[in-house]
């Protein structure tokens, strides 16, 4: 919070006060329009809270809005209004949890498909309940609530949503969401519990939508499932959020206000072609303004980085950093890893080599949690980690780089490193994280590119960045998957020197490599694999000279 912010805050407060005074001066129609704008601002901002950073497109806004409206309709005649609002919010939250638990463990497309039909499903379920259990379809809401009351409630909710959005944006939850949206694999390997993050955000977003629905319900006097669950709303919300820009807090607001006016104009003058024009506007936005109006603005201003809170934790002692015994993994009929055993002592660099397809990367994936072993044990610092989640393993201090470099292209170099700090066991956030991130960047030689977007880095620099992100986790064990691949001789020398320097920090390293010079230069020991099995084990010079190894690489005739 800096001094430069103060005038902006004052302006915002002034705007809020002025808006609060609207009902006193405006006509019924203007007030009705304003209510529409506030309602859609709330819905679009809530939508963008979840779908914006994570890119999981929810097409179910109408379902949650309707749940809130119908809850209000069912309870308002008998329960005091504040309790009704609480009930509606909780109902939205609960349903979102069910939906989230079913679909958010999986990739985004399942979620989209599920939400596509969700509004219709809930409408049918509510109808069924009303007909069979309650014996009545349609509820009457005679609260006599004037427009101004509804307006003020919506205004309060809109301010609250913007504040919540701002708080989330600055929190670890928001950071986690952004990383998930950029690259979910990286997120998991940075210690982020992606499933929980997604579910929590989705539930918050949906609860807000339900609350908006409850506030709006008294306007319609009579609510039946068809009235409460109007699929058009899902569409309008998405189009507004996308127009304004789902990536920024005020984006949806920028989209909602003009579109409400546009819809009103279209309604009045082209009611026939309403649907067509909406669809056309939507497509224009998708093609022309993929990041919305905010995206246009942001192209002139670089974004700042942010982070959050912290808590300490411990790890137990054990002679070996890593012990693998009898590890097995098959895919279908193919045995990718077949009874592999070796160990890694503190401060060692182990080379994992072998021809293509020998199972080296699979071993790394099994260690980092990306794959679950079919059999065998993996002990890290004395703890069994076979079958654990990638994020749990990452938090315990196992970091890795990837065979195909995975940086988060839309974020800056320093922002790419922050997740490692924010989600490790001893997390650091805020200015402290920023400081430490810069130090780490200096370690890998990237301090001058701290603010550059990661997509603009050269190949070797991207590899350095990945390494920095891995180091940010404060790992005891580092897994490098062909980190030296594709480098020219100069870069190779620098790379080898960098890895060499890491061991002096007390790090243990397993490196999968094909570059034999590096293996000889760096590795204390070497594990050679072929067709899933370990065929040799020892110092590089001895292991690589073994006849079976030569046969494996070069074939029978050249042995």
């Amino acid at each position: 919070m800096s001094l430069a912010r103060a005038p902006l805050i004052a302006l915002a407060v002034l705007a809020a006060l002025l808006l609060a005074g609207l009902p006193l001066v405006a006509s019924g129609y203007v007030l009705a329009l304003a209510i529409g704008m506030l309602n859609f601002t709330i819905l679009a901002t809530a939508w963008a809270l979840f779908s914006g950073p994570t890119h999981y497109i929810s097409l179910a806004s109408a379902a949650f809005f309707g749940i809130g409206a119908y809850t209000a309709a069912m309870m308002a005649e008998t329960v005091p209004w504040p309790l009704v609002l609480v009930a509606a919010t909780l109902a939205g939250f609960a349903v979102a949890l069910v939906v989230g638990l079913s679909t958010l463990r999986l990739s985004g497309v399942y979620f989209v498909i599920f939400t596509f039909g969700l509004t219709e499903l809930i409408r049918q379920l509510v109808t069924w309940y009303e007909v069979i259990v309650a014996g009545t379809v349609g509820r009457y809401l005679f609260l006599g609530m004037p427009q101004s009351t509804i307006y003020w409630q919506l205004l309060a909710l809109a301010v609250a949503v913007l504040v919540i959005g701002w708080l989330i944006g600055r929190s670890r939850l928001g950071l986690a969401a952004r990383v998930i949206g950029a690259d979910e694999v990286v997120a998991r390997h940075s210690g982020i519990d992606t499933t929980r993050t997604k579910i929590v955000l989705f539930a918050i977003s949906s609860a807000i939508m339900a609350l908006a629905g409850a506030i709006m319900a008294p306007r319609w006097t009579y609510i039946d499932p068809a009235i409460a669950f109007n699929p058009m709303i899902s569409f309008q919300v998405v189009i507004m959020a996308l127009l304004g820009g789902a990536g920024a807090l005020f984006g949806p607001l920028l989209g909602a206000v003009p579109l409400v006016l546009l819809f009103e104009v279209l309604q009045a003058n082209f009611p026939n072609a309403y649907s067509i024009l909406l669809g056309a506007v939507f497509i224009l936005i998708v093609y022309g303004l993929p990041r919305g109006v905010i995206g246009l603005i942001e192209d002139w201003r670089p974004a700042a980085s942010r982070s959050v809170a912290t808590l300490p934790s411990r790890a137990p002692r054990d002679p070996n950093v890593l012990t693998i015994s009898d590890l097995k993994k098959s895919f279908g009929g193919l045995s990718a890893v077949d009874s592999v055993s070796f160990d890694v002592r503190p401060g060692e660099i182990i080379g994992l080599v072998g021809p293509n397809g020998s199972g080296k990367t699979s071993v790394l994936n099994l260690i980092s949690g990306a794959l679950k072993p079919d059999a065998g044990q993996i002990f890290y610092l004395g703890r069994p980690i076979n079958g654990a989640n990638p994020e749990t393993i990452a938090r315990l201090g196992v970091a890795r780089t990837f065979q195909l470099v995975r940086v988060l292209p839309s974020m800056s170099v320093v922002e790419n490193v922050i997740p490692g700090f924010a989600f490790r066991a001893r997390h650091v956030t805020g200015a402290a994280a920023h400081e430490e991130a810069l130090a780490l960047l200096a370690r890998v030689g990237l301090e001058h590119r701290a603010a550059t977007p990661a997509s603009e880095l050269t190949y070797i620099d991207q590899k350095r960045l990945e390494l920095a992100r891995a180091l940010a986790l404060e790992p005891k064990l580092l897994l490098l998957d062909e980190w030296l691949a594709g480098l020219n001789p100069t870069e190779l020398e620098e790379g080898i020197a960098l890895i060499q320097s890491l061991r002096f920090d007390g790090l243990s390293i397993i490196m999968v490599e094909h570059v034999m010079d590096a293996i000889h230069a760096l590795c204390d020991r070497c594990v050679v694999m072929n067709a899933g099995r370990v065929i040799a084990h020892g110092t590089p010079r001895l292991a690589l000279a073994e006849p079976e190894v030569v046969r494996a690489y070069l074939g029978e005739d050249d042995a």
Binding site: Y29, L33, G36, T127, G135, W220, Y222, I227, N230, P271
Partner: protein, 379 residues
């Protein structure tokens, strides 16, 4: 899907157009017809001068929120003299408070709800032209009860209803009404709106052994059920599908096969005034009116015109009072509202010789005896 029509009239008027299926059948054509008739006669006489009606319309797209906004706009922005309400129970209820607050008379025609009397008390400016929906079940039980007492049908009735307010209200009322008439409900099932395959339900009806099949349905299901019955060659002695039977599209689709089908609606076919209205509607609008709410819509507008002319100026409070207490000359005869509710609502009609005649309430002028049994479906 379903649209409403919304209108505001006189001196500056508004009608919402582009209706969906039902509004296009009932409300919109009759608003248009009335405006034409009035303007052709010179206009509405207001304080000695004849004023033409100018129409402003908004489309509510069958959406409660849009309807509420549109009424606000008409009242506070466009500041019109008369506002005509949308189609449908839900929308009329939605705009009720706004009409009440703005003080305009609210002629709720296409709204069938058991709570109509309560609405009328809550909003004294509102007038409900179809009355409580349970009257529909009562009227039907009258017809069926009579047939049973004449030993023409057994006591068993198979009842299916659409899972929506109107269907449920009718079914709930029917359970009580049928029982009082000595009838036994052998099948009692509901189906969701949009169900396409009605064969399953009809097979259950066949298996129940009922002589009378009653479907409290909406237009698309009315057609689907009738179609399925035809395919199955299921010919119960009494066959009733609720809403939509009285629409021209029903006769259009089924032709001679519609003979003997009962449904909601009806009218006094002997009345010269109604016959003239029928002809005019067909000529001006290009298609026939429906045999239920169409004439009622026209009646409500006639009443409004006469009320305005009697008061002599656009004084809503006075107009409302006149509507509450006065007696009016309409195509359905002399009408005086009872506690803001229309006293004549035909609830059972039947296609006889190509016309949908009124059967019940049997006490109404022009009520005919039912054609019994329903002839076998002509393929």
């Amino acid at each position: 899907m379903l649209r409403k029509s919304l209108s505001r009239l006189a001196l500056a008027a508004a009608v919402s157009a582009l209706a969906g299926p039902a509004a296009r059948v009932t409300t919109l054509p009759n608003y248009q017809l009335w405006v034409k008739d009035v303007n052709a006669a010179g206009g509405i006489t207001v304080g000695g001068k004849k004023l033409q009606i100018e129409v402003v319309e908004y489309d509510d797209r069958s959406n409660s929120e849009e309807a509420v906004k549109a009424i606000e706009r008409l009242g506070t922005q466009d500041k019109v003299d008369i506002i005509l309400p949308p189609w449908g129970t839900g929308l009329n209820l939605a705009v009720g408070p706004t009409f009440n607050r703005l003080g305009y008379p609210h002629l709720a025609v296409t709204a069938a709800t058991d709570r109509a009397p309560e609405m009328a008390k809550r909003w004294p400016n509102s007038f409900w032209f179809l009355g409580p929906s349970k009257a529909g079940a009562v009227a039907l039980s009258e017809v069926l009860g009579k047939l049973k007492s004449e030993n023409k049908i057994g006591a068993k009735v198979a009842m299916i209803s659409v899972a929506d307010a109107f269907g449920i209200e009718l079914a709930t009322a029917a359970r009580a009404a049928f029982k009082s008439a000595g009838l036994e409900i052998a099948l009692d099932k509901t189906y969701p709106i949009g169900t396409q395959d009605m064969q399953a339900l009809l097979k259950d009806a066949m298996a129940s052994g009922a002589d009378a099949v009653v479907a409290f349905s909406y237009p698309p299901d009315t057609i689907a059920i009738t179609d399925a019955a035809r395919v199955l060659s299921y010919n119960p002695k009494v066959y009733y599908t609720a809403v939509g039977t009285a629409f021209p599209v029903f006769k259009g689709k089924f032709g001679a096969a519609a003979e003997g089908v009962m449904g909601v609606g009806g009218w006094n076919v002997d009345s010269p005034a109604l016959q003239a209205y029928f002809k005019r509607h067909t000529e001006v609008i290009g298609r026939e009116p429906d045999r239920w709410a169409s004439p009622v819509t026209y009646v409500s507008l006639q009443m409004l015109q006469q009320a305005i002319e009697r008061v002599g100026k656009i004084d809503n409070a006075a107009i409302i009072k006149e509507l509450q207490t006065g007696t009016f000359d309409t195509i359905m005869g002399k009408i005086k509202l009872a506690d803001n509710i229309m006293p004549i609502v035909w609830w059972v009609g039947q296609w006889q010789n190509g016309e949908f005649v009124g059967l019940a309430p049997t006490s109404y002028e022009g009520a005919k005896a039912p054609l019994f049994p329903k002839p076998a479906w002509k393929q």
